[in-house]
């Protein structure tokens, strides 16, 4: 519908929207007074997935279901989504910051000739105009941005926006529009899965544990993983630890790694170099454990323990276990 706020669905490739969609739909709903539609490009949707989007506040699900949409390829997705936007005239197109949507929404904005606000952490309506807020310069400053025209295209940093609460019984109308689906240029060869850690994905986790140079070696990360299993946390690392070869790069938190914004961040042996802070300073609660009382991370930590992480970590894991078993 013209004037609606669109949320482009990120799914788990098994037919269910990811929980970051509750955040996008929640924010779009607040800004638009509930005029929210989910746009779902996928090779495999599901009834349960559509129901979930409805409960999160989507009035309508625009479903483009086609085998050509898997895996994501920009040259297939962007023209399809842009064509639909041209027909429907949404007021905004939002999506979570994920590997594919950061590319997709940039391409769609280019195709539509409109502005893109990537990695937004807040929005506000000023009169009839949307203002986006996003961190810049390694998170040292905050930038407010505005668009010259609609649709306002933006990607939303995960874990920052208040998720929509699922309302049982609320349903979305399903529409299956017809759009041109371009032929893929890129030929998919294979997907190489990372070794499963049994822990949540870094950018999606509500709790993140991070180990820095103070971990002393790759063999010691097992104590952080043990804690991760107890509290359901992802385990990341600082650049120092990644550059030392202790952890693969995909676990790096910071400016040249992943940007995270969990409810709780626990840093062990992390000094808090600017480039690390750039990737985690929007975390809600920050805990730091470091031997050095002068470590810069204590300046932004909500709680700190000055001490030896090899004593603190096992004790903390035990204490978490006691708490969560209650």
């Amino acid at each position: 519908m013209a004037g609606a706020f669109w949320c482009v669905v990120e799914d788990d490739r098994q037919g269910m929207p990811k929980k970051v969609m509750a955040e996008a739909l929640g924010e779009a709903g607040r800004l638009s007074g509930g005029n929210v539609e989910a746009v779902w490009l996928t090779d495999k949707a599901s009834e349960a997935g559509i129901k979930q989007l409805g409960e999160w506040g989507a009035k309508k699900v625009l479903l483009l279901e086609n085998a050509a949409f898997a895996p994501y390829r920009g040259e297939v997705w962007a023209p399809a989504l842009a064509e639909l936007a041209g027909k429907e005239s949404p007021k905004a197109i939002f999506g979570p910051v994920t590997s594919r949507q950061r590319e997709l929404l940039a391409r769609v904005a280019a195709r539509l000739g409109v502005g893109l606000c990537a990695d937004a952490v807040a929005f506000a309506m000023e009169g009839d105009a949307l203002v986006g807020t996003r961190p810049v310069y390694a998170g040292k400053l905050i930038s407010k941005v505005s668009w010259a025209k609609t649709p306002w295209v933006a990607t939303l940093r995960p874990n920052v926006f208040r998720p929509a609460e699922a309302q049982a019984g609320k349903t979305a109308e399903v529409e299956k529009p017809t759009v041109t689906i371009p032929a893929a240029k890129m030929k998919f060869l294979e997907r190489r899965e990372e070794a499963a850690t049994g822990l949540p994905e870094l950018t999606e986790a509500e709790i993140v544990i991070s180990g820095g140079r103070g971990m002393k070696g790759p063999e010691n990360y097992v104590i952080l993983e043990d804690m991760g299993k107890v509290i359901g946390a992802a385990v990341g690392a600082s650049r120092a630890a990644v550059d030392a070869g202790w952890r693969p790069h995909r676990f790096q938190i910071g400016q040249t790694g992943r940007t995270i914004s969990p409810k709780l961040y626990l840093g062990f042996g992390v000094s808090g170099a600017i480039q690390h802070l750039a990737g985690m300073r929007t975390s809600k609660v920050i805990v730091a454990v470091n031997k050095d009382p002068e470590a810069p991370i204590f300046k932004i930590a909500d709680y700190g323990i000055v001490g030896d992480l090899f004593e603190v970590v096992p004790a903390l894991t035990q204490e978490f276990k006691k708490l969560l078993e209650k």
Binding site: A106, A138, K140, M186
Partner: protein, 259 residues
């Protein structure tokens, strides 16, 4: 094969940034400028492709004010053959789309077989120019690549892009845009010979008019830069390990409600 690398000059991460009087930009005095780290991965990869194939040309291009020439000079010192500097006050407020259009115009003139970019510049962190460039050119693009191999006849690049939970590998027909992720390579340091040689290499100045660009207003504008709101003061939890840990867990549960 001609390879074009689009780079950006950005403040060094460790540099203090201060908001300028217009409240929309930063004070440029006293800033240490560098080539954005992801762009260095892109330059390095271009040089490796040229070395591996034993022939070709690496062209560095940037859009920016006079000072951005230094960044191009760094790329030339690393080994790029020549550089193009899109330097025009009319593009001072360029958003990602304007930048992509300007770069696309350069690419149309240069006709490279491959374009490499960094996954994002570390100043405004938009991470959009590579994707928008591909869109404007109607080329395929692989974002956040961790490895690439070009086939012998230069028609296809096999690229592995980083996604949640793994890598996805594609055969990408050339010409294409590849956006470098950390882990792709380890950028070289310029040698003294490289630095000396860079002074003799060509940096071509280009104006918006040379590229047939109009003076479109940017689609996205910065209306205000603000300092980060300060975090509430933190607290060091004192005591021996057992006491501190107990108190920390209690605080996280009862005060911060974080677990």
């Amino acid at each position: 094969m001609k390879i074009l690398v689009a780079i950006k000059q950005v403040p060094d991460t460790a540099t203090q940034v201060k908001i300028a009087g217009d409240a929309k930009s930063i004070e440029t005095a006293g800033i240490t400028w560098i080539v954005s780290p992801y762009d260095e991965f892109a330059v390095e990869e271009a040089l490796r492709i040229k070395e591996k194939r034993g022939q070709g040309e690496v062209v560095a291009v940037t859009l920016g004010p006079d000072r951005a020439k230094e960044a191009l000079r760094s790329c030339l010192a690393m080994g790029a053959d020549r550089a193009i500097h899109v330097n025009d006050p009319a593009l001072a407020n360029a958003d990602t789309l304007t930048t992509a259009r300007a770069l696309a115009a350069v690419i149309k003139q240069e006709q490279p077989g491959l374009v490499l970019v960094g996954r994002q510049a570390i100043d405004d962190d938009m991470g959009a120019v590579g994707a928008q460039l591909a869109e404007v050119l109607d080329w395929p693009c692989a974002y956040w690549i961790m490895e690439e191999t070009i086939d012998a006849d230069g028609k296809t690049v096999k690229a592995a892009r980083q996604v949640e939970g793994g890598l996805e590998v594609f055969d990408v027909p050339l010409p294409a845009v590849l956006a470098a992720q950390k882990g792709l390579n380890e950028p070289r340091y310029p040698t003294l010979k490289g630095i000396m040689g860079a002074k003799k290499k060509e940096i071509k100045d280009v104006k918006a008019g040379d590229l047939g660009l109009g003076s479109d207003a940017p689609q996205l504008s910065i209306t205000k830069l603000e300092a980060l709101p300060p975090r509430p003061p933190g607290r060091i939890v004192e005591g021996d390990v057992a006491t501190a840990v107990k108190e920390l867990v209690r605080s996280l549960r009862e005060d911060a409600k974080a677990i």
